[in-house]
């Protein structure tokens, strides 16, 4: 078994990765393009709707809650197909890249909403009350008290969601978006070099995921709220 593993490693043809570096790099760029757009917009949605949920704003709260429950309890692939095949029926014709980032944004936004809601709700009440005592309006109290503190509390879980959004970009190959997994799978099916392509993919994804996870651990330590609060 060990000999077999050694034999496999020895027969690795790294050249197949180098030879295809052009398409692979393009695929990586596509992954990052859709991923970054999705993450940034998901953060925006999460902040806004998280605040709505935490403050229980009437009507908006129920709408946000429905949005979150719908997205969390249905598979992301179904959401992607629903948008890709459904929107044109409504007369909305979007190019593939748009559907790509839109679908992962909607998915990520729901999870970010819950992340930020938990963060905002974890801010001790007395801090907000202190703000009111100082004459803050509810909005200013939110901006100056809840948001900075709650945002810090929520940071680790939101980065986790961002990691998931990036990983989910791989599913976009099923609507023809030429991201990294699509390119690697293509090369693998033409050259039959499954191991090498998988290694390349693993390195690419794990590098990003592990870096971001390390960032979370670092932030958890650095941004830890002092006990006195």
């Amino acid at each position: 078994m060990f000999h077999r593993a050694v034999r496999i490693l020895a027969s690795f043809e790294w050249s197949v990765i180098w030879d295809n570096r052009g398409p692979l790099w393009d695929g990586f760029k596509s992954t990052m393009k859709a991923g970054v757009v999705g993450i940034v917009l998901a953060y925006a949605i999460g902040l806004a709707l998280g605040a709505v949920r935490a403050h229980r704003l009437p009507a908006l709260n129920q709408l946000a809650a429905t949005y979150v429950e719908l997205i969390r309890n249905t598979p992301i692939l179904v959401q992607i197909f629903f948008l890709y095949y459904g929107l044109p029926v409504l007369g909305i014709h979007l190019e593939t890249f748009t559907v790509a980032w839109l679908s992962i944004t909607i998915w990520g936004g729901a999870f970010m909403t819950e992340n930020f809601r938990a963060g905002f709700e974890a801010v001790p009440n007395r801090l907000r009350e202190a703000g009111y005592a100082l004459g803050f309006s509810p909005l200013r109290a939110f901006l100056n008290v809840t948001l900075p503190i709650g945002g810090r509390i929520a940071l680790p879980s939101t980065i986790n969601t961002a990691i998931s959004v990036l990983k989910n970009t791989s599913l976009l190959l099923l609507i023809g978006y030429p991201e990294l997994t699509y390119v690697a799978n293509n090369v693998q099916s033409n050259t039959f070099r499954t191991f090498e392509m998988f290694t390349a993919l693993a390195i690419a994804y794990l590098a990003i995921v592990w870096t971001l996870s390390a960032l979370i651990r670092f932030l958890e330590r650095r941004l830890a709220l002092p006990e006195a609060l």
């Binding site: 309890n73 249905t74 992301i76 499954t194």
Partner: protein, 229 residues
């Protein structure tokens, strides 16, 4: 109430696709829990190399997108073990990929749960004369497993939703069944007719069924979480 064109499609989806989805989820859940709890407990041992190995397993299978794992397992060339040519079919590749991911999640959760048991429990059990193994079996693990219950229900929801990724290698699960009929209807060459809003009906139906399964489970997980604390 169900339109004529939709009825046979819905029946096909529920008859052919849904059982596959549920069976795949069940296998993946059982394998994930068994392997995951084992690995998670082993991770709490003070044996460095073993901990490192299991940590590697966890970080790799959690860090990779499940789609990448599934494609790799499916497209790996078969291996000749003795007289047999071993190669996983689509269904088993999907089950294995989901189990690798699921067991990594469970392992991490188990480690967290075991390590969250206060030291006093270990010390009290030792003082009562429990050896290491019986301490684990009768005192630590039961408490850890109880803390694991909410996240396990959450894991089940995720596994059920992630079975749709098996779509990519042609497993005839629920989403694939719907998509296949959608393709038939779009081409217009199978004698089936459908109105233009067919994508909403078909993919909406897929989403609805998943929602009906996952929403109660999500509520259950939240309820169990509350009961614990």
């Amino acid at each position: 109430m169900i339109p004529d064109w939709f009825r046979p499609i819905a029946e096909y989806m529920l008859r052919e696709g849904l059982p596959e989805t549920l069976r795949l989820a069940a296998i993946a859940l059982i394998a994930s829990v068994l392997v995951g709890v084992l690995l998670g407990t082993l991770m709490t041992l003070r044996f460095g190399p073993l901990r490192w190995l299991i940590r590697l397993y966890v970080e790799v299978w959690r860090g990779l997108p499940i789609l990448v794992t599934i494609l790799f397992i499916y497209w790996l060339p078969g291996y000749d073990i003795g007289p047999w040519h071993v190669q996983l079919n689509a269904y088993m590749s999907a089950a294995l990929a989901l189990s690798l991911w699921g067991s990594a999640q469970v392992a991490e959760a188990t480690r967290g749960a075991v390590q969250s048991i206060p030291k006093e429990q270990h010390e009290a059990a030792a003082a009562l004369g429990f050896g290491w193994t019986s301490r684990q079996a009768f005192v630590i693990l039961p408490q850890a497993l109880r803390r694991l219950l909410p996240p396990m229900v959450g894991l089940l929801v995720n596994i059920i939703q992630n079975t749709t990724i098996a779509f990519a290698i042609g497993v005839n699960e629920f989403l694939q069944a719907g998509t296949r009929q959608f393709e038939n209807v779009t081409s217009g060459l199978t004698g089936q007719v459908a109105p233009s809003y067919a994508p909403f009906a078909i993919f909406g139906f897929v989403a609805l069924v998943f929602f009906l399964i996952c929403f109660p489970l999500t509520r259950l997980a939240a309820y169990l979480e509350k009961r614990l604390t």
